[in-house]
């Protein structure tokens, strides 16, 4: 197999890696916010449930969660595993990353000075207006660096989908390497992830720059 062939085959896997990556962000970013808000709820039970959710998902291996979500339904209920493993894989990544995002959001929300809420309240803003107009934009600005870290980690973590044999980039790289008894496919895989993250880093850098028109 020529290098070009390897690259072409990997590019097919890249599509699936991208699917995991973007779908996870799409769902985990808002879900994490919901979890963060529940965690900050003044109802003790709701806040406790959110805390347990966060601690379990951050305290157990992502690989285990992938296996649990993909094969769990079969073992528990005898539901056959769907042919399209993208769904369980994205679910597993989403619930896992939502827990991490929730912690980041919470730290950002906690870092907001109380005076911002008070100024908004005196001006008559509703709670919802205060959150979306005053608090959230500043929170995003504050947490962007940590969010970038997490997103870079997600790019690399997508490779864990190999544990459930989902045909993403890493799985394919590994398969080629095994069949060719060559190390080259691993190097190509590494380059693919590296370039992916370089793009992520560039985009996030631009976003951060765009948001830093004011000092905090």
């Amino acid at each position: 197999m020529t290098l070009l062939n390897i690259i072409l085959k990997m590019a097919e896997g890249l599509e699936k890696t991208c699917a995991i990556f973007f779908l996870t962000l799409l769902f985990a970013i808002p879900l994490g916010m919901i979890v963060a808000l529940l965690r900050g709820s003044k109802f003790k039970i709701i806040s406790a449930i959110a805390r347990v959710y966060i601690s379990v998902l951050r305290g157990t291996p992502l690989m285990l969660q992938l296996i649990a979500v993909t094969y769990g339904p079969y073992y528990l209920f005898g539901i056959s595993i769907s042919r399209n493993k993208l769904i369980p894989v994205v679910i597993a990544f989403t619930i896992n990353y939502a827990a991490y995002f929730a912690e980041i959001y919470r730290s950002g929300i906690d870092s907001m000075p109380i005076g911002q809420y008070e100024a908004a309240q005196v001006l008559g803003y509703s709670k919802i207006q205060t959150f979306f107009k005053i608090i959230l934009p500043q929170v995003i600005r504050r947490i962007l660096p940590s969010l970038t870290n997490e997103i870079v980690t997600l790019v690399k973590d997508t490779s864990m989908a190999f544990t459930v044999s989902y045909q993403e980039m890493f799985t394919i790289g590994k398969q080629i390497a095994n069949s060719q008894t060559s190390f080259v496919p691993f190097v190509v895989t590494g380059v693919f992830y590296y370039v992916f993250n370089a793009v992520v880093g560039f985009v996030m850098g631009r976003v951060e720059k765009k948001m830093s028109y004011y000092k905090i």
């Binding site: 005076g115 100024a119 309240q121 005196v122 001006l123 008559g124 107009k133 500043q138 000092k215 905090i216």
Partner: protein, 251 residues
């Protein structure tokens, strides 16, 4: 007619009894200064008047309507509190401007999105206010680009943009370098000359004396004495007031 009338206000933080049966009113067009030692409850009184703290018992009336009253010994607030919020504005010690909004947006956003007023109309009014306050060139600046004195002036015009009937100030110059207090005090003086109804908590005694129609001296959660500035500063017979003012002139 009183714009604000608070009566028999009780407020405790845990076992700390901070406001002890305070009765306090402000008439239309009146400028009232509140002075008193640290911890006497001045900020708490303003925060209760602006609903940032809830009173334990007592009555808060704005324009002769009850915002809070006491039923069976406990304070009950009106359902439509937000309608009352439009009556007053509050200027904080540390400004609390919205850092992600430009100066103009800081001023315009609440009138437009809270009062649902016409955006162009609000813009014109805000630009006029900025011009009046010598801030015309700063409309598009962000708060972080302004000096402390400018930021506090912006926070004053932000409050004014809501067209409040009464404006509260909690030590508006305490967070400023001494050379910047003048420009803020000048703005407040200007508002006083225009008969804006104001309540000012301040440690600037000469300013309180110059600008106020009435001075209220608070200590340990009670109003010890109140009166015209020349009476209170000039010839008070009250020992506690004397003591406090003496300590002040010594520093």
């Amino acid at each position: 007619m009183s714009v604000l009338a608070m009566s028999n206000i009780q407020k405790s933080f845990g076992s700390n009894h901070v406001l002890k049966d305070i009765t306090f009113h402000v008439d239309k067009g009146e400028v009232v200064s509140i002075i008193g030692p640290s911890g006497s409850g001045k900020s708490t009184l303003l925060r209760c008047a602006t609903f940032l703290e809830t009173i334990d018992s007592g009555t808060i009336r704005y324009d002769d309507r009850n915002a809070a009253e006491t039923v069976n010994g406990k304070a009950v607030y009106a359902k439509n509190l937000n309608d009352f919020r439009h009556i007053f504005g509050l200027v904080f010690q540390n400004f609390n401007l919205f850092p992600h909004f430009s100066v103009l947006k800081n001023m315009m956003d609440a009138p437009v999105s809270v009062l649902h007023r016409n955006k162009e109309e609000v813009r014109e009014e805000c630009m006029a206010l900025l011009a009046k306050m010598d801030l015309a060139g700063k409309a598009d600046a962000y708060p972080c680009e302004l000096s402390g004195g400018q930021q506090q002036r912006v926070s004053i015009v932000r409050a004014l943009a809501m067209k409040p009937e009464i404006l509260f100030f909690d030590e508006p110059t305490s967070a400023l370098d001494p050379e910047l207090t003048g420009e803020v005090l000048k703005v407040i003086k200007q508002l006083a000359d225009e008969k804006m109804t104001m309540v000012i908590v301040t440690h600037e005694m000469p300013f309180a004396r110059a600008v106020s129609d009435r001075v209220v001296f608070m200590d340990k959660g009670v109003v010890v004495e109140q009166g015209k500035p020349e009476e209170l500063f000039g010839q008070t017979q009250n020992e506690r007031t004397k003591q406090f003012l003496q300590n002040y002139s010594n520093t």
